[in-house]
Symmetry: C2
Subunit: 259 residues, 2 copies
Amino acid sequence: MTSGSNPTREAVLGGPAVILVEPQLGENIGAAARAMLNCGLTDLRLVRPRDGWPNERAVAASSGATAVLDGTRLFDRVEDAIADLEYVVATTSRERGQIKRILTPRAAAVEMRERWSRSAATGVMFGPERTGLLNDDIALADAAVSVPLNPAFCSLNLAQAVLLIGYEWFQTGSEAPDRALHLGHTRQASKAELHNLFEHLEAELDDCGFFSTPDKRPSMVRNIRNLFQRAEMTEQEVRTFHGIIAGLTARRKPPSTGR
Amino acid sequence: MTSGSNPTREAVLGGPAVILVEPQLGENIGAAARAMLNCGLTDLRLVRPRDGWPNERAVAASSGATAVLDGTRLFDRVEDAIADLEYVVATTSRERGQIKRILTPRAAAVEMRERWSRSAATGVMFGPERTGLLNDDIALADAAVSVPLNPAFCSLNLAQAVLLIGYEWFQTGSEAPDRALHLGHTRQASKAELHNLFEHLEAELDDCGFFSTPDKRPSMVRNIRNLFQRAEMTEQEVRTFHGIIAGLTARRKPPSTGR
């Protein structure tokens, strides 16, 4: 199937559509567009925005997310705004008494990413700022999404809600490692380089009488070696530390052999 | 050790401290306080806020997060703001050429939660809105945190950055299931109730001649049963569906026996 023959292909490319139902403030639409683009989302759909469209305040608040605002589509009915989508989730901040699957943003992102990977178009609906989605709108969705937050203070503004959903969406596709050691132009020290440093240090410590209790030398050496192991030193840092040891011991050497 | 004798205990209770270094706009401080309280964080520390402290605009933007603003502490130096903490991460939006561990917000939250669970105080530093943290401030931290976002459009405002870090912190402590089926006052149907519904439906379908090809009856029955299985029906919905079948077949019954 070519992309032209698949009516949902356009929606799929930019990730899930974001459907704002009756958004009130242009600022919030613009901030939502910014949050979307932060997360690589570009398909914004508005259902009956209170102040009409286009909206100057939305542009001002978007911080340059024009790629999203320029492609924003307007709809009169929620049904039309989601007609081309196969899987839609509805954000809710409170329990609505409907028999409905409730997902965390993380689980919703996983559901949408799975569908995206097989070119199925998905979307996330957000309600008006003060009231949230109507129950009838929620009933149009496959599942509800609720953000686990401090129950005593859980109100998010519209753009922040969009950001959290978009953030989780982006993470499901991100290849960034959870933990990385930035090494710049150097490299991690080899064990041989590290052992050489240990021996240099320990020889100097022997020389200056640091190990006053011979019994304790083995465990003290282990502790010192573990400290340096934890630091995950680079080869540059190993060389720097050889210099530090040389510099510190120079003051201790007999003046006749030093400068 | 009692809580009184542990100088870091206060910091531990409210989760990681949020340290805003030279924040410029009061609005951003207030919005950050709101995002903190959304995520159950209460320990806000300001280093040289540009417009002084307290700040009316911060109060207005906090949407009532006074619990955070009232306890906010002021510091002249970053070193003093983090003095009581054992583990500190520094948020950065770009690579700084330092040999440094770089964590995602999720990994940073795991690191902080692990320390929190053994009463070790932690914190997250955020730099000024336009420039971010100084390299010297980053060097005071145990690790850097960078949010994986659309590299072509990755600038977040201060409160959004605080929200994403706080959100991940809250998730590490949240017991909310990733997926749940909200059942209201009803309960999931038992398999016996579901089988009873299947038999009711299939008997009526036999009766009306729906299964025109006997060969295909077994696979059609399986498809229909799978559809209802996927819906995870409640016992109320099973009863409703018995009523739907009865209602639909009533129109088909001979008029003499109907009304």
